[in-house]
Structure formats: C-alpha cells, structure tokens
Subunit: 179 residues, 2 copies
C-alpha cells in the first residue's frame, strides 16, 4: 500500500518511526523500537505495514514531503539569489535531520512506495531556478556531495565549508552553455 493511502493509525506509526529515526539514527529504527515508542508490541505493527521496508517507505514519503515544502518556500521567497537560497535550504534541511537525509538520499529511492509525483515535486524548484536539466543535475550533485561529505566528517575540522559552498554556488550560478 502506497504511503499516501495509509490509514490514520498507520500514519501515526510512520510519524513516530520518523521521529525515532531522526532522534536516534537508522540503526535504532527497528520494528521493536518503533512499537515501544508507541506503547505497543512489535507484531502489532504488521497489521498496518506488511514489512519493515513498507514502513520505511512511509517514512521516506513523510521526509520528502517535508523537504519539498521547505524547498518550495525557499524558491518563493527571495528576489535575487534564488540558487543561493535553494542551496541554503537544502543544506539546512540536511543539517537539521541528518539521519533522515541519509535515509532518503544515500540509497535507492523506494519509488514503488511513494506517492506519484512526489519525487518530481521535490526536484522542481531547482529545475525552475537553473533552467536546464544538466545544470539542475550538476547543482544537485554539488549540494548532495557537500552535505554527504560534511555529514560524514570527511572535510578537515578546520575546513572553511562556507567558502566551499560559496565557491561551488558561484561557479554554478553562471548560465550554462547551450548544448
């Protein structure tokens, strides 16, 4: 069952699972722990989700919907530096919910468990801001790469990450050449 067709109880479960993920990380996201958080027993969850994978799909859906809202808001607000605003929103989201970010972005998307159109909705603001598909993809790759390396502590502790972000954004802000 796709996440957008969940019953009310299933939705509550997904919300708690998401909270658990964000508070304690992906390894803590077990059926047992989700159940405990809800004050029920683990087997009861299987009345609402066919498998752990299905529950994770619902969590990914909640996460993508939240991200899309923030990303759309960032695209709407500023007059001038739209790409910079999107980059800032992207980074802020990842830093606010690093575990969730990685669950959504560091592995294949469970597309069959997502509402139709959600993935495209999340991508749309960037595409509108940069104008071409190649640039949207290269800009997304830059942002995802920065976030991923940051979250995993791959840059030196004294690295000036603001400078790296600014450098990449400046390079990508120029109008891409038509091919």
């Amino acid at each position: 069952m796709p996440a957008h067709e969940l019953g009310p109880r299933a939705r509550e479960i997904a919300i708690e699972a998401r909270a658990l993920l964000n508070e304690r990380g992906p390894e803590a996201l077990t059926m047992r722990a989700v159940a405990e958080r809800l004050g029920i027993q683990a087997p009861s969850l299987y009345k609402h989700f066919a498998s752990k994978e299905a529950l994770e799909g619902a969590v990914v859906t909640l996460a993508l919907e939240d991200f899309a809202e923030r990303f759309e808001a960032a695209a709407a607000a500023p007059k001038g530096d739209r790409l910079g605003a999107l980059a800032h929103a992207y980074r802020a989201y990842a830093h606010a919910m690093p575990h969730e970010y990685q669950l959504v972005n560091d592995r294949p998307l469970p597309r069959d468990l997502l509402p139709e159109g959600l993935e495209a909705r999340a991508a749309a603001p960037l595409l509108r801001a940069v104008g071409t598909l190649e640039r949207a993809r290269s800009a997304w790759a830059f942002a995802h790469g920065m976030v991923s390396l940051e979250l995993n502590g791959r840059f030196p502790p004294d690295a000036d990450l603001e400078a790296a972000w600014e450098d990449g954004i400046r390079a990508l802000r120029r109008t891409p050449r038509r091919t």
Copy 2:
C-alpha cells in the same frame, strides 16, 4: 594495529575481504563469509584482527591506496584537461568498484586505522590541479555527489549523465576568484 603494519596472513585476509565486498556488497561482508572464502572458520580471523571494524579498516586502506594510485596516474598523464582527467578517473573508479566506493566515501573514515598520510595523498592530485582549497572541496563535492546519485539510481533512467558531468566540470574549471 594500523593496516600498514599487518602481517602477511592478515594482509591476505584483508585482500579477500576486499574482493568479497566488491563482488557481493557490504551486507555480504561478514566475518563468517570472509572466513569461508579463505577456507577457514570465522573465529580464526580474530587471531589477525581484533574486530570486524579493524578488518574493515584494512579494507579501506587497500581501497584508498588503489584509488590514490589511479588518481595520481590520471593527474600525470594529460597535458591539457587535467580536471577532466581527474573527474574521469574518479568516476571510473567508483563505477568499477561501487561497493568499495561507498564503504570508503559514504561514511566516516576510520582514520585511526589508516596509515598516516594516506588520506592526504589521495586528495593531493585534485588540490594540485585546481590550486585552491575551496575549489578542491567544491569539485570533490560535485564528483562525489554525481557518483553517489548515480550509484543509487537517483537520476532518471534517461538522464544524460555525461552532460551533467560535463556541465559541472566546465563550471568548475574556471579559475576561482581569490577571496
């Protein structure tokens, strides 16, 4: 014990573990499976590595050494498009050994298990090619982001990834402004 001080038998074990990782993925990298591949029992491995984590550290070391060699070779060869050559080598390495790439790059580095200087060695060719730390970091982020999104199937099946790579590289090739 750091990976560069391994005994000969430990090194053999690490090499088999690496092969197992590359052939069957990170989930298949268990002490049992490594032992089976070597024709011995899992507990025997603990005479050579204190823990699974230590064995993984040795695998990461082998991987980084291999990557550094390829990256250095790519930096040495071409006269003209050095950044493009490095990007190509980076991508080719990731595509050749996707599981290994993710083990090394999609999580924190176990720095205490690595030979001194290896991390810096792997980064050096890019830094030399682009000249500034910010640009080295933003270019690395772009390459890592592209690879990560590619390996996880996050781009549409019909996406022109060559175009996205070329777009990003072109944007990042320009000399960064001095700050």
